[in-house]
Structures are given as structure tokens and as C-alpha cells.
């Protein structure tokens, strides 16, 4: 029995290592590449898995000092913050109304909102590019600020409906009996209790805006207004000249913090999926 248990453990680790390699290898390779000297990297015949020349920080320095990487980061961050604000302002009241006030048709509405989440940017970017142009927002980060909530608000609403429904009605009704209006009851009891859900929404709104590629490349043309997702692959590759080490450094520098944030909130996210369910 002991031998069998050990075999099971060993087999599990074999599978886990396989998956870890499969999933993380491109990033490991990117990290490894970031510190290679040009003469090492671009010499055919060098063993690619070794530092044939001493590793160097030069290309990371180039990324920060000689490219617009930091501009992209700042743009993404600014857009993210504003989009989070718009998302919360629209999704929180809507989710609360669906969860509490609208009864049966609220359930159907939740479903409709979820369906909207499935309408992809690659179907909408053409008319939106025209709408954005007519609003005079072409090549402005405000174009993305305007459009991103269509990606984030439906998903956030759907997630929050589940969180709100998991809070007992009694709590806010008690607050209403205790002397507060419904709005007061929501602000003082429901929102503090839904804080994990709200934080999850903030994180995933940020992640979704960072993730977008289509709208960013469709609406933005000058590199000073680009986001990370569009700027790094589009603007840092000029013709056939690749700064591979810098590009890979940028990839890893974005991937790691985003992944950490996701991991921190994954359980809440899964809980949200289960709560909001596809039940609507």
C-alpha cells in the first residue's frame, strides 16, 4: 500500500511538472532571453540554453530608458483606473437592482447582460472605430476609456449579482427598519459585505482592459497613446528590427504582476462564477 501511494504521488508530480513546463516554458524562455548579450543571442551555433557570454541588464535598461514602455504602462494604468470607476458606477447599481429589486425579469436581464459579455470586440471594432472618430476621439486614450466598460461592465455585473444574492436580505431590511433609506442601507451594510466581490471586480476590470488588443490597435495610432498590450508588440517591433531581449523583458514584467493579482483573487473569481453561475 505504501509503495502504491508513493507511485501515485510520483505520477502526480510527473503530470504536474509536465503541465508547469508546458504552461510556463515560454515565459521561462523569455526571462532567460532578457539577460542575453546580443553576440550571445544572435550567434547560430551557440547552445541556446546557456549564457555563452555573461548575462547583462543592458536590454532591460534599454526597455525602460530608450523605449516608450513606461508610457504604455502609464497609459494602461490611467485607462484602467478610469474604466474601473465607470465599471463600478454602472455595474454596482445594476447588479443590485437585478439581485434585489426587479424580481423575475431581473433574472432574465442578468442572462441578457451575460450574453452581451459574449459579443466580441472583433465584431464591434469597425462600427466603434467610426463612432470614436465621429466623437473626435481617434488616437486618444479616451476612445479606450469610452469603449472598455462594454467589456468589463457586463462581466462585473454578472459577477456582482451573485455576490449580492449571497448576502441575506434580512441584513439590509434590518437597516431599513433601523432608520435608513434603501440607498443608505446598501451603502452601509451591503457594500461592506460585498467588498470581496468589489475587489474582484476591480482586479478583473484592470486585467480585461490590459488584455485588450483589438480596440487598442484599431483606435490608437501614435505610440505615445498606446497601451501595453498593443504598444509592446506593435511599436517595439520596427520593421524587421526586433529588440528581442527588451521585448521579452517587457512580456515577463507585465505577465508576472498580472498573474500574481489573478492568483490572489482566483478563489473569489471561481466563487463568483459559482454564485453568479450561469443561472442568471
Amino acid at each position: 500500500m505504501v509503495a502504491r501511494a508513493q507511485a501515485v504521488t510520483a505520477a502526480r508530480w510527473v503530470v504536474l511538472v509536465f503541465f508547469a513546463l508546458l504552461c510556463a516554458f515560454p515565459f521561462a524562455w523569455a526571462t532567460f532571453t532578457s539577460f542575453k548579450a546580443d553576440a550571445d543571442l544572435y550567434t547560430v551555433g551557440h547552445v541556446p540554453f546557456l549564457y555563452n557570454l555573461p548575462p547583462t541588464f543592458d536590454h532591460v535598461r534599454v526597455l525602460f530608458q530608450e523605449t516608450e514602455f513606461l508610457t504604455f504602462v502609464r497609459n494602461s494604468f490611467e485607462i484602467g483606473v478610469i474604466v474601473v470607476a465607470i465599471t463600478l458606477a454602472t455595474a454596482v447599481p445594476a447588479a443590485y437592482a437585478i439581485a434585489r429589486l426587479t424580481g423575475e425579469w431581473g433574472g432574465r436581464l442578468a442572462m441578457a447582460v451575460f450574453v452581451i459579455y459574449l459579443v466580441p470586440p472583433t465584431l464591434l471594432f469597425l462600427p466603434l472605430s467610426r463612432i470614436v472618430a465621429e466623437l473626435g476621439l481617434q488616437d486618444s486614450i479616451w476612445a479606450l476609456v469610452l469603449v472598455y466598460p462594454t467589456l468589463t461592465a457586463p462581466f462585473s455585473t454578472w459577477l456582482l449579482v451573485g455576490f449580492f444574492r449571497s448576502i441575506p436580505r434580512d441584513i439590509e431590511e434590518q437597516a431599513m427598519v433601523d432608520g435608513y433609506s434603501r440607498a443608505g442601507a446598501v451603502v452601509r451594510t451591503v457594500l461592506p459585505l460585498a467588498l470581496p466581490g468589489l475587489l474582484t471586480v476591480v482586479i478583473f476590470t484592470f486585467a480585461l482592459t490590459t488584455n485588450d488588443f483589438v480596440y487598442a490597435v484599431a483606435f490608437i495610432s501614435s505610440s505615445s497613446n498606446m497601451t501595453i498590450s498593443a504598444g509592446v508588440p506593435v511599436e517595439l517591433i520596427r520593421g524587421d528590427v526586433f529588440f528581442w531581449q527588451s521585448l521579452m523583458a517587457a512580456t515577463v514584467l507585465v505577465a508576472i504582476p498580472v498573474a500574481l493579482a489573478y492568483n490572489f483573487f482566483l478563489d473569489r473569481f471561481v466563487q463568483g462564477l459559482a454564485l453568479g453561475g450561469v443561472k442568471g
Partner: protein, 339 residues
Amino acid sequence: MAEVEVRDIRKAFGGVPAVDGVNLVCHDGEYLVLLGPSGCGKTTLLRMIAGLEHPTEGDILIGGHSVRGLPPRARKIAMVFQSYALYPHKTVEHNISFPLEAQGMTKEERATRVRWAAGLLGIESLLQRKPRQLSGGERQRVALARALVREPQVFLLDEPLSNLDAKLRASARLELKQFQQRLAASTIYVTHDQVEAMGLGDRIAVLNLGRLQQIGTPDEIYHRPANTFVATFVGSPPMNLVPRDGRLVGFRPENVRLSTDGQRLEGASFACHVIRIENLGSDRYVYLRVKGDEGDTNVIAKLAVAEQLPVKADEDAQLSVEQRHLSYFDQKTGGRIAA
């Protein structure tokens, strides 16, 4: 303190009536119990008084003024929910002071009031705890403290004992009663437990299927039920109903006298067959079958163990009940009729 009056109130959810034309008054300082099985509309009625549901028809008056259209916060009521609905993210102290904050009371005033309410319920030592660190009984006290801290016109209690275990429930019932007597506040108390209703209520309103069946003192409800529903819902075991001469004869199990020697009380008597005898410690339940023209009826008699048992299982016997313990009901409508 104030009187609560419910006038012709109706509430339908999607066309299905939950409360169907109820009139009742809870007098100033009275302890009124709404009793009924689950789904009878008692909680809906309470929630309408609180302002959490809007009546489809009818009016509610608190202290002589219609509260129709007033939100819960403007009705000067306090409510204790079945779940106690303590704010899980606030300390006990903050829970109790929360209704006072809504009134814009100063911090010092609030602290004084919280100490007063906590003292009244003996929970001063719990003030810094969070609700999840409290036992069921402690939670109930916190909920009561929060309800009384702002001295409302009316207390509304929705099955506040149902989350406690059986042992705790008896002592909590006693405390609730003493507490209400001290405050002398108008109280409307919802329960499906007839023992709570009988023990706590100045008067009991029995509801079924959204309609008021009877309103009266515990004594009236028990001894003079207005119809067969009240007769069988209140009392454990319930009132026996035996068809005789085109009407139903009702009598309580404890009023039954059994004999095998032809001795009988002045009143009604029936020939019966003893099916089974159950010894419950202080009482015995004797299960009987009474033969009648329209088939057999099962009857339960409750006899004190201290008395000698006059019958044995599986023998024929005589059952009799004194005239003053008899009720009569119409066989069709179930309504009470004169003897």
C-alpha cells in the same frame, strides 16, 4: 407606545393572495401573537406592518396615523428578524448604536444609550465582539438590544426563538416575556409554535391561508376555538373531532374520561375501542377508535400517569366528556355552532 391597526389588508404575489383581507388591532402595550402554519401569511402581514412589503389593498395605522406609503425608517418600529440579521461586519456595540446613528445622535448620547440597552439585556461584556463570536442566545439578546435602543412605538418579532435549541428556547421565552412586561411596549410576535403563542401572548391571532381565523386570549383560543382549524392547530395532541348527529363534536384529549364499567360523565359519551397506549412519562396517550354511522374516527385521550389506567389495549371501552368541555362545529363550514 402606540396602537397598531390593520384594516382590510390584502397582499397578492403574482395574483396569489398571501394575506387575504385581515382586520386586527394590537392595543397600546399589548403583546399580540400571530400564530399559524408556514405559508399562512403571518410573516407577510408583519412585513407589511414594518413597511418591507406594500399591501395590495387596505391600510395600516400606527398610533392612529396611516403609514401607507411611509418607508420602514419613518414608521418608528423595531423589528427582530428570525435570523437576527446582526450586521456581521460590525461589533456588537456598533450593531446596537447603528439605529441611533440614523437619527443623527451625538457620539456621547449613543454611548449612553448603548450602555443602557446592553445593561438591560446583560450583554455589557460582549460589546467589542463580532456577531460570529456569539452564541445563539447571545445573538438574540444583541438583536433585542438593537431593537429597543431607540425606543420604538412598536416591536415586531419574527419567530425570534426558532433558531435556538429546545433547551435555550424555554428560558429565552421567559426572558422575552419579562422584558416585554418591563417595557410595556406594543409587541407583535410571529410564530408557528403554539407553545410560544400560548405562553407569551396577551392575545393570539390565528391565521390560515391568509385569513384571520380567530383572535382572542390564549384561554379563548384553546377552550373556545372559532372553527375546526383553530381547534386542531392549537393543542398537542389536537382537539378530537367526532361526527355525531350531523355536526362535529370537539373535545380536548385531557378532558376524556375512560371506563369499562359503564360509568360516564354528564355530557357526551361514545363507545370506543382501545388501540394502543403510549407512556410519555408524565402522561399517557391512549389511542382510541370511535365507531360512527359515517365510519370510524380516531381519538386520542391524554391521562396523567399518576391516575390509575382504567383500560387495557385492544379492549372495548366507554369514552365520556363533561358538557362544559364540549365544542360543536358545523360539518360543512367547520365554524363553531351553539350546543
